[in-house]
Symmetry: C2
Subunit: 158 residues, 2 copies
Amino acid sequence: MDFEDVEIGERADIGTHAFTRDEIIAFARRWDPQPFHLDDEAAEASQFGALCASGWHTACTWMRLNVEDGARRIGEAVAAGRPVPRIGPSPGLFDLKWLRPVYVGDTIAYSWTVTDKRASKSRPDWGLITYHAEGVNQDGVTVISFNGRFFLGRREAG
Amino acid sequence: MDFEDVEIGERADIGTHAFTRDEIIAFARRWDPQPFHLDDEAAEASQFGALCASGWHTACTWMRLNVEDGARRIGEAVAAGRPVPRIGPSPGLFDLKWLRPVYVGDTIAYSWTVTDKRASKSRPDWGLITYHAEGVNQDGVTVISFNGRFFLGRREAG
């Protein structure tokens, strides 16, 4: 999938992840050791009411599934004899919202939807894709959303 | 430090972190397994030119140092017999920018600066702090920046 093939509105469901107590605590110990991500009692006394995942954990899980989905697409391109897409760096994100807590046992379904595409002015052989990312729990409630951008190679320089 | 004590413009230097090859690869394997975060040769052939850290890694390291800094402040409050600040959830981030790659051996100095404070309309015993976060490398170049918000307890409900 080169820049030319991407369509605005295109959506990818990149996978689901079930958040276990052990993984929530292990992530928090390493990256976000706040009591309500580490300890049941402290979490019950907090605004969250129960042990819940670090927001960085729910975000990094989107990234993990996104990279795996990208690897699948690259594998399919190779298998079909199509050119391998050139996936470039991401300049960043905007409007990252942690809308609801992710509790032990929640299963989050992650996706991205293309919201914009434009040629890069400074790099004629690259385009810039803008997407909306979401994670939705088993009750249909969106727990995380953000918008991001990444560079994708063009077949023909603009 | 309650909401009332926070001053706009106040800055905290929350610590530095040296990014090693092993840590860059370990983080990428778990959360962002793209070739330029995992393998020297692939990274040399990429836009980055050398092995570099996942942007999520540089962001999570800010969070880790931020939580440690907060824990120090809480410890100081307890030791001085002052009330323990109530640190609440974060509704999210905006304008997260990965400005430059973080390469093996880079040391990043992280900080936050308060840019706004306002009473919460929906939660009268809480205020909302807005901050600008940065990571700057050993050459004085900003590699990551974002703006974020978190709730902080008020001594007196508005």
